[in-house]
Amino acid sequence: MFKLSDEGVAYVKKELERYETKRSAIIPCLYRVQSENGGWVSPESINYLSELMDLPVAWINEVFHFYTMFNKEPVGKLHVQVCNNITCCMLGARELTEHISKTFEMGIDELSKDGKITLSKVECLGSCDTAPMMQINDSYHENLTPESAVKIIKDMVHGN
């Protein structure tokens, strides 16, 4: 059964008072749940959040399903999100995604065999000047080539 840490609960309580309506606090609270739940939001955690925030579960689910930043399935320790919008694609983002997928033998939105990496295609991450780029967890990695991207991921898997 999922539960937020004490700091997490305090964070949610603070967010609830920050906006005019409680509904506005759903996004930051969902983010908190995602980070404390190992990178994804489970149905139980939505139920839990609904009780904690005293909001209908459908309202939270609506927000959760609308935004792609909330993961619907468990993700690996490294969530590799390759930008596949127009600028990045012109500079080889599709090929880059395919190369990563082949190297680590995993499909899009699937866990790698060792369960450490998830690869996703995402829309514009607002870093067109340094295309092609990818986001791993919270950090941006820019001006990539297939080789450099694979190297970055491998380094991160080995804990550097």
Partner: protein, 513 residues
Amino acid sequence: MPKLTLNGKEIEVPAGSTIIEAYKQLDEPIAHYCWHPGLSIAGVCRLCVVEIEGNPRLQIACNTQIQEGMVVNNNSEKVKTAVKWGLDFHLINHPLDCPICDQAGECELQNQYMEFGKYDPEMAEPKVKKRKVVDLGERVVLDTERCILCSRCVRFTNEVSKTNELGIFNRGDRSEVGTFEDKPLNNKYSVNTVDICPVGALTSKDFRFKQRVWYLKNKPSICTGCSTGCNVNVYYNEEGVFRVKPHYNKEVNGYWMCDEGRDIYKHINRKSRMLRGRYKQNGVWCTTQALEVAKKAGQKLSSFKGEEIAVLVTGQYTNEELNSLVDYSVNKLGSKSVFHWKNNENNWQDFDGHLIRGDKNPNTKGLQGVLQKYAVGGEWKELENQLSKFKAVVVAGPENQSVYFDIKEKIESLKSLECVVWFTAGENSNFEKLSDNSYLIPQKTSVEKNGHFTNHQGLTQKVEEVTTILPEALNLEETVSLMLGNSLDLSIRDKQEMGVLKTNYFSQERGSL
């Protein structure tokens, strides 16, 4: 009150109203899906567009307030093109499976298409496939593919039932209406979402595939489910009554009614009715016409003294009927022992804050009025305590037996009397237990008679005859008249006997829903 011109007609509307309300007031056609007078404004379907003079862009009528001197039309070419394209966008992912859709015939999308569409779709992409036949609890079935995302049902659960089960999940063309994790939509007003759904996305489990809507007629009536007295439309054909839907009445129920009230048609149909009159003599039940039983019962009752007769009444009859029965008791039988039988003493006063009341009788106020008028009346307990005093009892039993949980006990305690005359619309196996000199007289249900019901707030509402289910059944006035020995002009006999409700066997083969 601001004045404006709509489609060339001048109209005066209350300040603060929107253009679409003015259209409704004028009874001019205007296309719309998401707007509903009982809900907040969403402005998502973009179909109610109108052209306002001096405004370069088309505006949606549902969310534009009226200003003095506005000149508005919705019949220009510009508007027609906009509506056509709006409709085309709605149809991009709509399956257009009207022939197998239960909503066909009363579908706003279908009506709209027949009026403005009738062209081949210009969309080359394949349609997005979504989930079909999603079980949403006891009463509602969801087909997300047919949904046009008008959000009426979502707003209904947020604003009216205040249960917040429904939401629109995902986004873009993958948007789906639904409940979290497909939880059942088991609130007490859930079928209203089916009524307001403009398409066949939400359908009623009880009604779907039972009858095509174009084989049904409808007439207004009053719900007999409780003392609120919601105004309803009864949908029926020669096989019986198929469903009940709310009918707008600002003072009573607004646009809504509860799920329980929708079940009232079940005790109206032949299946649960007492078809013939019965009386017990020398230990044998004899079946005959209702009017013969009434005459016999009248003769038998006249052999008792006034103080030996008790009358037990439920608030399930019209004011006129109750008046004639109590009058008969007081003035003809000479019995002032009239008792009020309540459906459930414990939750009699319950109220859920919206429509549902614990008093499950349509005419309790009316009955109290009649009892007051004749200065009679008492509770069941009083009758029970002095039961040995009486030799005969006349019972105006409930039409809706499903809310009278104590009907079996009442029969048990009354069977010791010498003579029981029981008026009833519904059949009940416990009647067999009654002893000799018992008379069972089939009564009409609320949809078969004319009269008035007085609801909890003291509002007297008219019920009119909708259809005849049992030509043989009598109403209380007729019964009383027959019991007095009068003959009755039974022109109702000429009415055609109703057919037996047919079962749609194919609906059973389609699976569990």
